[in-house]
Symmetry: C2
Subunit: 380 residues, 2 copies
C-alpha cells in the first residue's frame, strides 16, 4: 500500500484517484474544493486537498508525505508542474499532455533520482507501449496509430462530443501534422489525407492527419514509417474544413459591432454547446495500432491491436477516463511494485520494451475491462 | 423621349440608368457623390444628383421635373420611398424588393392617379409576368419558379457569391418559406425539400424552399399549386445548414471576451470575404418557370421558360443587373409609351395579362440579349 497524491480532479484525475484508492492511501488535490467534494461523495476513502499547483512552495510542501505523484493538470500547466514534482524528488506518472518536450526534463530526473513516466494515457500512451514492446520483438518498418474519442449517439452535423473545450480540439485541427515516411519527416496540413476505415463495432470511421506522434518522433529514429491519425465519424472533418476554409478559425482579430474579437474565440464559444459532452453522456474510444516488420523467423509480420471501449454506466466512468486513466494507474502500480526502477523521463515506448512491464499493464487494463485485441498476420 | 430619375446608383440602378440614357433624358440620384461620379464616367449623357431619399422634402423637390421614377433603393428604405413617390403623383417602376406588402399602397396610387409597377425584376418580376400572361391563356393548376444567381467559378466550400451583404442572403435562408399546395398555404423551414435539377448549360443545381412568392401568394388564389424555390450549386445548402444548425445564425447575443455580439452579425462579417462578388467577377442567372394547366383545347399543357444569362464582359454589366434592371427599364418604356395606363399598384402578373405589354417586355429583353426560351408539352 503506497501513499499517492493525484493532482487535478478532472474527469480522468477523479477516475484515477478512485481506482487507486482500492489498494492505496490516496489524496486528490485540486484548485476547486467543490469539485473535490463531488468526487469524495463517490469514494469515501479518498482524502482531498485544496491546492493551487502554480504556487510552487505550497506544491512542494503538499507533495512531501507521498511516495508517488500522478499529474493530471490542464496541459498548459503540465510542464511547470512536472518540473516541480521532479525537483521535489518524487516519482511521478504524468498525463497532462503538455506541448513542451518532456524529454528535456530527463537530465533533471536522473539527477534527482526520479522515475517519471510521461504521456501515459491511451494515445499517447498505449500506442507507445505497444510500439516499445514490438520494437524489441521485431525489426519494425511501419508504425501507425488510428485513434478517436467519439460520442455513442451521432447528432448531425458534427457527430462529435468532447469533455474538453472546443479550443483544444480546434488546436489539434490547425496545428501542422508531422509524421515520418520512408525515413523523412513529413509536415502536412491537419485534416488532410482523409480515409475511410472499417471497425467491427462502430462501422466506418474517417481518419485524418493530426500531430500526435509526440515522443515517437524522436525515440524511434530507426523505424522509417511512423504515423498517427485521428478518427471521427464520416462527415465531421468535411464540416470542420468548411469552417476552417471560410475563416472561422482565424486568430486575427476582426471588428464586429465595435468590438475586436478573433473568429476562433467566437467559433469556440458557439461550438461549445454543440460539442460539449454531457456528464453521463455515453462515449466510446476506438484505437487501432498497426505494427509491421520482420519477425525473428525472418518473415514480414503485421501485428494489429484493436481497442473498443465504452462508457461504464454502472460506475459513471467515461471511456476516456477508463482508457487514459487506467493506463496511468497501471504505471503507478508498476513504480510502487518496483517493477520499473530506472531513473529519468520515460514515455511509454521506453517502458514497453520490458516484457514484465508490458504484461503488467496489459493485465491491469484487462482486469478493468479495457481489452486490446491482437491479430497477427504473416505476410507473403 | 422622357425625363426619368433613377433613385439609387447601386449595381442594378446604374445599369438601368445607362440603359435608359440611350433614348431618354436620365438623372441618376444617390446619397454617394463618389458612386455617382463613377457611373457618370461610363456614361457621359447621365445627369447626376446627390440625394438622401429619407429627407422627404428634398425628395419631393427633386422628383418634380420628371415624368417617371425608377426606385432601386436598398430594401429597408423601399416602402417609405415608394410611398413618397406616389404621394408626389409620379409614375414609378420599383425594384427595391422591400418586405412590406406593396399592394397596401394601391388605394393611394389610385387616388393620386399614379401607375406604380412593383417587384419588376427577374424574380420577382419576370416569373410574375409569365404567370400573368399564361393565366389568361390557360386554366392553370401549377406555377413553379426555380431561380438563382450564381458565380461562374465555383470555389469550395460555398460555391456562392453575391453582390449584396451576407445578412440579406442569410435572411432568405432563415425566413419561413410559404408556398401553396392543393390550395393550402404551406409554411416550411427554409433550406428544406432540396432537389437536384438539371440545366443545359450549368449541369446539376440544387433547389430548396425559400420565401419568394410575394404578391403571387395573394393575386392568384384560383391556382392551387404555387411554389418558388432558390437554386444553388450542389453542396452550398448542406454547408449553410451546418452553420444554421450549429447556432451560427442565432440572433441571441452571446458574451465573447467581454463583448455582447450576436452569432449572426459575426457570421456575416466572416462570410463577407467568402461570399462577396468582385466587381468584374463573372456570374450567371438561371431561372426556370413551369406553368401547367388546361389549354383552350382542353388538353393538359406544360409550358416551361428557361433563362440562362451571363455577365457581359464588354459593358462590364453583371447578369443580375441585366436580368433585373432591363425588366424594369422595359416597364419604364411601357409606361412612357402609354402601353400601360391603369392606375394603382401592379406587380408584374397584372401587367402580363395584357398581350401587348407582355410582348413589349419580352422583345425589349431579347434586344438586350436576355432570352427566355420556351418549350411546350401537351401531356397525355
Amino acid at each position: 500500500m503506497g501513499k499517492i497524491i493525484v493532482l487535478g480532479a478532472g474527469m480522468v484525475g477523479s477516475a484515477m484517484a478512485i481506482d487507486l484508492a482500492k489498494n492505496h492511501q490516496v489524496t486528490l488535490a485540486d484548485i476547486s474544493l467543490q469539485r473535490l467534494e463531488r468526487v469524495q461523495e463517490k469514494c469515501q476513502s479518498l482524502r482531498i486537498l485544496e491546492l493551487d499547483v502554480t504556487e510552487k512552495k505550497m506544491l512542494e510542501y503538499a507533495l512531501k508525505p507521498f511516495d508517488l505523484v500522478i499529474c493530471s493538470v490542464p496541459g498548459y500547466l503540465g510542464y511547470a508542474t512536472l518540473s516541480s514534482i521532479i525537483e521535489c524528488g518524487k516519482n511521478v506518472v504524468d498525463i497532462s499532455f503538455f506541448s513542451e518536450n518532456s524529454l528535456d526534463l530527463d537530465h533533471l530526473a536522473k539527477t534527482m533520482g526520479v522515475t517519471a513516466i510521461v504521456d501515459c494515457g491511451v494515445a499517447p500512451g498505449m500506442d507507445n507501449l505497444l510500439l516499445g514492446y514490438y520494437n524489441e520483438k521485431m525489426k519494425l518498418t511501419h508504425f501507425e496509430c488510428l485513434v478517436g474519442g467519439l460520442p455513442k449517439r451521432k447528432k448531425w452535423p458534427f457527430s462529435y462530443k468532447a469533455p474538453f473545450s472546443p479550443i483544444d480540439v480546434i488546436e489539434e485541427y490547425t496545428r501542422p501534422a508531422r509524421y515520418v515516411e520512408n525515413g523523412q519527416l513529413i509536415v502536412r496540413e491537419p485534416l488532410t489525407d482523409c480515409e475511410y476505415v472499417e471497425f467491427d463495432r462502430v462501422g466506418t470511421l474517417e481518419s485524418f492527419n493530426s500531430d500526435g506522434l509526440r515522443s515517437i518522433l524522436f525515440t524511434m529514429p530507426h523505424i522509417p514509417n511512423r504515423k498517427e491519425k485521428t478518427l471521427r465519424y464520416p462527415g465531421h472533418i468535411e464540416y470542420v474544413r468548411v469552417l476552417k476554409e471560410s475563416g472561422f478559425f482565424s486568430k486575427e482579430e476582426i471588428m464586429v459591432n465595435g468590438s475586436n474579437i478573433t473568429p476562433l474565440d467566437f467559433t469556440c464559444r458557439i461550438l461549445f454547446n454543440e460539442w460539449n459532452l454531457g456528464e453521463a453522456e455515453k462515449e466510446i474510444t476506438v484505437m487501432r495500432v498497426t505494427l509491421i516488420g520482420e519477425n525473428k523467423a525472418g518473415e514480414t509480420e503485421k501485428v494489429v491491436f484493436n481497442l473498443h471501449d465504452e462508457y461504464n454506466a454502472i460506475t459513471g466512468t467515461s471511456s476516456m477516463a477508463r482508457t487514459t486513466g487506467y493506463t496511468a494507474t497501471a504505471a503507478a502500480n508498476l513504480i510502487l511494485d518496483r517493477l520499473f526502477e530506472e531513473k529519468g523521463v520515460f514515455p511509454p515506448e521506453l517502458i514497453g520494451k520490458q516484457e514484465n512491464c508490458f504484461n503488467f499493464i496489459i493485465n491491469y487494463l484487462n482486469d478493468r475491462g479495457v481489452h486490446y485485441n491482437i491479430s497477427r498476420i504473416i505476410q507473403q
